[in-house]
């Protein structure tokens, strides 16, 4: 701390008069990992880019960024290029944009080395292979000759890290390095980052919106809101006793994979409102409009980042005298003792809501959805003019689901697991390629148009991206009324339902004449939900409904879904890649891998005692937003990426990555390589598709 390698002070960035960063101070000690957290628009990425001098010319950068005492702000291009990639290196969110598509990966790394070091081409090439090996790329010598597009997302990110550490930098800046990746790949990449840091001893500035990732990696954390640091502290202190209401809210808003001692989940606390637009900041504390603790003095002057949080004079009452724990809040001392629920009121029923009691069994009701052995293949075509079929993509290859009335089934899987294809197959209401689909007790085989229309009224969908799923040219009232009109509802009913629906999802009925773009992301998703509820469906299909939203907003939507479900007795098919979210809302869970269901059961049961090796790996890869528990866990790291769904291996499709398989003796391996395991009951309604299911605690 005494000798910061990277010292950012008073950094300001504005884009044409609109401030994005408003006075940021950060000190990165030698070999330290500093986590920079914030929601979208908080200015965290801009801060990192400004430190590297990588902002576009339109940005006006002020303040100072010193690398070992040398000023970088305002330094010439030449001076910056000497530093960039040499003393400071960057890992981006999207590695594809960091590589030139027409050069081989190895050559690009050689280039990076030779720009800053006086090495012969051969030596640099050897070093490049060494680096690729370091970041865990198999057969590095061969892979060095590959082009960027031949790598998967995870591999590219590894190669990017290899390039970043090529010149033994003092500082690594990683901007959301794992955001676009699946959780098992994220776990691999975080591991690679740790290795890379160990090898080079570089300090790491890790920018992320994911508190779990930060909890696992960072030594210190800085929280950004509206272009400023609002709290900074050592990681343990920050998570245990945050002093700024915003941090507290963020921590309370993240759904957690782990339950408390009694196996109960805390209700999520949504932070009300939305972050302010950069051009229209409120006077005083930028968080005041959303802060339940706001007082008049908060709105007068912007609180400074101090140990006690009080503007001007730093008092150190007993227990709050940690000089490394700074907060920009006038009530920091009080906040330290509070829990998220004390500060952020969870609207009446939302907080009290619990899912069907643990172990209480499944509701006795009829099925609203039953899918058995569903399959869907897409032809793989080749050729520019005359298309030939050269193979098949087995997008869905044996999915079983059943949902009873009033039940929530979470469907989890990584990208390419066939979750979305499954949904769309169900929603098309047409006879499947293989297997059967029964919706609300009716088989989709031989439906007439009239039947299909009636059936569609019982099943509605909420999409992932609320902006894309709402017609930008329709006023919200018309959007919400659409399913009603499709069912030929009369005008009086439409006129009555629309305001009622808007109110039900927490929107103003008077806003029915506004257009989707006039709403924030969370509000748009509420519109999507209102539309889905319009015709009183019995089953709601939710396709990643919160993954496009910031955590503080996401919590509000999840609470709304829980409330609606309790009030209306809805059943949900909740598709998500985020296991913590599924843990929070679902009663039962189905895990998919390569188009197949590999494990199903009650959420509490599956998460506590996962039987399939893939479920175990998946659960162990999810970072917990709790530094103490997160660091104490042992992780199952899956090797490689999921195989492509175009090949259909014999035996168990998970074999190539299975940690259990790897440890089996040859005699038993035989079974995995020759027989595809079927979904078999493992006690109760817990099923798993594995020949050698073994319990393993992973949380």
């Amino acid at each position: 701390m005494n000798d910061p390698v990277l010292d950012i002070s008073g950094l300001t960035v504005d884009f044409g008069g609109v401030p994005a960063v408003r006075g940021v101070d950060l000190h990165l000690g030698r070999g330290e990992v500093l986590g920079l957290v914030g929601e979208s628009g908080s200015g965290k990425s801009v801060t990192a880019l400004a430190a590297m001098g990588l902002l576009p010319a339109a940005a006006h950068v002020g303040g100072s960024v010193r690398l070992d005492g040398a000023e970088l702000v305002g330094a010439g291009d030449k001076a910056l290029s000497r530093v960039r990639g040499n003393r400071v290196a960057m890992v981006f969110q999207d590695p594809l944009s960091a590589f030139t598509p027409v050069y081989r990966i190895g050559d690009q790394i050689v280039e990076a080395i030779r720009t800053h070091q006086d090495l012969s081409r051969e030596k640099a090439a050897a070093r490049a292979v060494e680096l690729l090996d370091l970041v865990g790329i198999p057969e590095p010598r061969l892979r060095a000759a590959a082009f960027p597009h031949e790598f998967s997302g995870g591999m590219r990110q590894r190669a990017m890290i290899a390039m970043a550490v090529a010149n033994n930098p003092d500082v690594l800046l990683a901007d959301e390095p794992t955001t676009a990746l699946d959780v098992t790949v994220q776990a691999q990449i975080l591991d690679v980052l740790r290795t890379a840091r160990r090898e080079t001893g570089a300090a790491l500035l890790l920018v992320s919106h994911d508190l779990g990732v930060i909890a696992g990696m960072a030594d210190r954390v800085a929280v950004m809101y509206a272009g400023r640091i609002v709290e900074t502290a050592p990681v343990d202190a920050l998570f245990a006793a945050p002093r700024m209401p915003y941090t507290l809210g963020l921590i309370g808003a993240v759904p957690r994979l782990d339950a408390d001692a009694e196996g109960r989940l805390e209700p999520l606390v949504p932070i009300p409102g939305a972050p302010p637009a950069p051009g229209a900041l409120p006077p005083g504390c930028a968080f005041a409009p959303r802060c339940p603790l706001a007082e008049d003095r908060c709105r007068e002057t912007e609180p400074l980042l101090t140990a006690a949080g009080r503007a001007g004079k730093a008092t150190h009452p007993a227990g709050a005298a940690d000089p490394a724990h700074l907060a920009a809040c006038v009530r920091a001392e009080e906040v330290g003792a509070l829990r998220p629920l004390d500060v952020f009121p969870v609207p009446g029923t939302d907080g009290a809501l619990r899912k069907a009691g643990p172990g209480g069994g499944r509701p006795v009701a009829d099925d609203v959805l039953r899918v058995t052995d569903l399959a869907r293949t897409f032809p793989l075509l080749k050729g520019a003019i005359v298309k030939r079929r050269v193979g098949s993509v087995h997008a869905v290859d044996g999915v079983d689901l059943d949902i009873r009335a009033g039940e929530v089934l979470g469907l989890v899987g990584e990208s390419g697991s066939g979750k979305s294809t499954t949904l769309f197959e169900i929603l098309e209401l047409r006879p499947p390629e293989r297997g059967s689909v029964e919706v609300l007790g009716r088989s989709v085989e031989g439906l007439t148009r009239r039947d299909a229309r009636a059936l569609r009224a019982g099943v509605q969908i909420v999409f992932q991206d609320p902006m894309a799923s709402l017609d930008p040219r329709l006023p919200v009232g018309d959007i919400v009324a659409e399913p009603l009109r499709a069912q030929h509802a009369d005008r009086a009913l439409v006129a009555r339902r629309v305001p009622e629906l808007l109110r039900r999802v927490g929107l103003e009925p008077a806003h029915a004449d506004r257009f989707p773009h006039e709403f924030s992301g969370g509000q748009r998703q509420r519109i999507g939900i209102a539309r889905a509820l319009a015709v009183d469906p019995r089953l709601l299909i939710l396709d990643e409904p919160v993954s496009a939203l910031d955590v503080s907003v996401q919590a509000g939507i999840l609470n709304l879904l829980l409330r609606l479900r309790a009030e209306l007795g809805l059943a949900y098919l909740f598709v998500s890649h985020d296991l913590s979210v599924v843990r929070h809302v679902a009663d039962r869970v189905g895990v998919m891998y390569l188009g197949r269901t590999v494990e199903t059961g009650a959420v509490a049961e599956v998460f506590a005692r996962p039987l399939h090796p893939y479920t175990q790996a998946l659960l162990s890869a999810v970072p917990l937003p709790d530094p103490v528990r997160e660091r104490a866990r042992t992780r199952i790291l899956l090797p490689g990426d999921p195989p492509s769904p175009t090949s259909r291996p014999s035996g168990c499709p998970f074999r190539s990555r299975c940690q259990v398989f790897a440890a089996l003796d040859p005699g038993r391996k035989e079974r995995c390589t020759t027989q595809a395991p079927a979904l078999a009951p493992q006690g109760g309604d817990h099923t798993a598709a594995c020949h050698f299911p073994a319990e393993r605690a992973v949380l």
Partner: protein, 311 residues
């Protein structure tokens, strides 16, 4: 300031007993259009032109075909308000008569061609498959069809009200390129989530086209229609020049302009009144188009400026 209907709506909606009909797109669009001063002005100008075209002939004692042998090429006067032409016809009477034709031809061709393009393009793009192949085939066929030849064969047989059919003929040969563009836009719209959402909600395909596809290509359609209005007036002129379309003694703005061009410097009244009205007409249509585009596109920058402040 919230406009009056908005305030009323807000009040009514918050009152449980009094159920307000949620504003539909048509009403919202109309409100936004009316809040657009230049668009309303454009609409007023078009209306005035119609009044001039249809009331004008009754205001003067000259008919468009009368010849006043006492006044050849005379300038504007109390007797001949806008002067007379080479053979003593009253320019005012002729211009308003020509205006009748050109207004109707222009608007009819603009609207009919664009509507046809929107229907064919959106259906081809949305349905795909053989519908697409068939419609694309027809489009391409008409595109390579010698339209000039067809019109020249057909129009001499049309007597009297024939120029209406003539306008439709012009429309028939004016929609294909637009349709192709609309088709490709519809293909990409078809895959958008909101269209998919509508499908899963049991909204019928024709309704999807009418409510989601066409409004989302409306900006393009409107620009295209405003251009089509102007160009229809001009292509009518070109065809009339070859003896099709509007035939002497009948006149259109196009034929008047064509006749008057040579005399534009020496006897300006023969040219400038007709040309001026055409320019005014096309400009007004453009203003209306602009306003309509902004009214339909909620994200357009020139939204009602008062609204943000009001809330």
């Amino acid at each position: 300031m919230a406009t009056a209907p908005e305030a009323l709506l807000a009040e009514a909606a918050s009152d449980d007993g009094l159920v307000a009909r949620p504003p539909s797109r048509a009403r919202v669009t109309l409100r936004r259009f009316l809040a657009h001063p230049t668009a309303v002005a454009g609409l007023a100008v078009v209306a005035l032109l119609f009044v001039l075209a249809f009331a004008g002939p009754h205001l003067t004692r000259w008919s468009y075909s009368d010849i006043d042998y006492t006044a050849l090429r005379s300038g504007p006067s109390a007797r001949h308000w806008w002067g007379t032409n080479r053979i003593g016809q009253d320019v005012f009477a002729q211009t308003v008569r020509g205006l009748q034709k050109s207004l109707i031809i222009g608007l009819l061709v603009g609207v009919a061609a664009t509507a046809g393009a929107a229907t064919v393009g959106a259906c081809a793009g949305y349905f795909g498959g053989w519908t697409d192949r068939l419609l694309t085939f027809v489009t391409d066929l008409l595109l390579i069809f010698p339209s000039f030849l067809v019109i020249s064969v057909v129009s001499p047989r049309l007597k009297g009200g024939g120029w209406l059919v003539f306008a439709l003929l012009l429309a028939l040969f004016g929609w294909m390129i637009t349709a192709r563009v609309v088709r490709s836009m519809a293909i990409s719209l078809r895959e958008r989530e909101f269209v998919r959402a509508a499908r899963y909600m049991a909204v019928g395909p024709l309704r999807i086209i009418a409510r989601h596809i066409v409004p989302n290509v409306a900006s393009f359609l409107i620009i295209d229609a405003t251009i089509a209005v102007g160009s229809a007036v001009m292509s009518e002129t070109a065809l009339s020049y070859f003896g099709f379309g509007v035939q002497p003694p009948d006149v259109s703005l196009g034929t008047l302009i064509a006749d008057g061009t040579g005399a534009a410097i020496t006897y300006p009244w023969m040219f400038f009144f007709a040309a001026g009205l055409l320019v005014v007409f096309v400009l007004a249509v453009n203003l209306v188009g602009d306003g309509l585009r902004d009214a339909i596109d909620p994200t357009s920058a020139r939204r009602r400026p008062g609204r943000r402040r009001a809330r």
